[in-house]
């Protein structure tokens, strides 16, 4: 009996997806006199809620024009909107707002796709010591984070002070390529106070209060050793490269759509992505402090937990990931 019911539900779900859904859409269209795109625009506030619905409506459409609209070139968005209006027989004079709303959403959709390509291109470009531009960016990063201390040489142990692994940062960019450097530099230059604070905190030795009871049991040497073990916060630059990895994964999986559709009025740009990175760096730092891991060896565990939390937050269509930036920086959606 149970099995039968399950098959029956599955059958109805299948039927719904296959034809009922379309029939329902058709009936609602006839009753309200509005097509699905119109209904979405009238019933949802601008932002992720609306754009996500429009995106899935276009993607699952039977019509080729609507299907291909999500991959239109940014220059042809306006023409695509005109075509859609003609196709849906909507009079632009009686619905002046609809065209504008649809256009804004479509710009966000194609903009996101282009942003993924742009970010991927940066990621694939390896750091190259022969490239003067790359070298200049790296030195700028040092100047931004350590304005008081001049670098003694391009290859120097000093790089460890800002959290690179060794004396040449080149090898640390690895799979994130130039994207890691761009992000770190953006954080250091555009959100300077926060970046310096995170760097400062990351360099603080982590002294755990060792209770008196245990102290007496340990010899002095052991105690010193224990203290030394705990005296490692985390490495700013390579945490930055790891958080770049996280931001990249969020972007490519589409999870960042919620945030970017809420903050970018039209095409999301690289700056939006970099601001998201700055936010994630600060949030991760807070998260790390709250989690209070006993040492750096727990990094991957804490990172996975943080990733899960951000993913959960992004499920909420009203979510934005950067309350910290001023609205004027972000040109918040206001249509």
């Amino acid at each position: 009996m149970k099995h039968f019911l399950r098959v029956l539900t599955q059958f109805f779900v299948f039927l719904y997806c296959k034809c009922l859904w379309r029939t329902l859409k058709f009936v609602i269209r006839k009753v309200t006199g509005r097509c699905e795109l119109q209904r979405i625009c009238y019933n949802n506030k601008p932002g992720a809620r609306r754009t996500l619905k429009i995106e899935s409506s276009l993607r699952f459409s039977k019509n080729e024009l609507l299907q291909s609209a999500v991959s239109a070139h940014p220059d042809s968005v306006e023409k695509t909107i005109d075509d859609i209006m003609t196709l849906k027989k909507i009079n632009p004079d009686t619905n002046p707002q609809l065209g504008i709303s649809l256009q804004a959403s479509l710009f966000q959709i194609v903009g996101y796709r282009n942003l993924v390509l742009e970010v991927e291109k940066l990621r694939r470009e390896p750091y190259d010591c022969e490239n003067a531009e790359h070298e200049e960016m790296l030195l700028k990063l040092w100047k931004a984070l350590r304005p008081e201390t001049p670098l003694t040489g391009r290859i120097s142990k000093q790089w460890c002070e800002i959290g690179f692994q060794g004396s040449d940062p080149k090898t640390d960019f690895r799979g994130m390529g130039l994207l890691g450097l761009h992000n770190l530099l953006y954080f250091a230059e555009h959100d300077k106070a926060a970046a310096l604070q995170v760097l400062h905190d990351s360099l603080q030795p982590k002294h755990r209060p060792i209770s008196l009871g245990t102290t007496s049991k340990l010899s002095k040497a052991e105690w010193e050793k224990k203290k030394f073990d705990k005296a490692i916060g985390y490495s700013f630059a390579i945490v930055g490269i790891n958080i770049t990895d996280l931001a990249y994964a969020l972007l490519v999986s589409g999870a960042l759509k919620t945030h970017l559709y809420n903050v970018a009025p039209e095409m999301p740009s690289l700056a939006h992505f970099q601001q998201t990175f700055c936010y994630l760096m600060q949030e991760f730092h807070k998260f790390w402090t709250e989690e209070d891991p006993s040492d750096i060896m727990e990094f991957n565990h804490v990172r996975a937990k943080f990733h899960k939390r951000v993913l959960k937050q992004l499920k909420n269509p009203n979510m934005t990931l950067c309350p910290h930036f001023a609205a004027s920086d972000l040109h918040l959606v206001n249509l």
Binding site: D172, D245, I296, E298
Partner: protein, 184 residues
Amino acid sequence: MGLLTILKKMKHKEREMRLLMLGLDNAGKTTILKKFNGEDVSTISPTLGFNIKTLEHRGFKLNIWDVGGQKSLRSYWRNYFESTDGLVWVVDSADRLRLEDCRQELSALLLEERLAGATLLVFANKQDLPGALSKDAIREAMALDSIKTHHWCIIGCSAVTGENLLPGVDWLLDDIAARIFTAD
């Protein structure tokens, strides 16, 4: 019944091995681990802390620990020594400047009591790079021939192309199995 149970137990007994992968930073430890596990190796970041993967290979259950090689992390390596069956030491064959550093770290490891029984596999990684030293040059530079305390083997490989990873791991498994599972 007794005999049957024992036979069954022997058959089902998990043939588990614990492998520890160490080496200087940027040697390619995480890339080797991911490539061996069939994962994408194009988006790797420096390892903070460690990665662990459990995988099945030739009927063995392998627990592979990959611990970050950054200087400040090396003091944590000893937390992972316990009951290690095989030590995989990864060398960046193109990093000539730090070969001496690499030799010293390895020889310090081999003095560790808790690693005394472990088999040593040295991966001369990054053989695909134009400036890479050959397997034999690494063997000499690291003075491997002077190692008398451990079974060891050096294999030239490339984590990016996957070349020679399998032969290396297979040698390691054979050596460990001959040592610990002969009782079965």
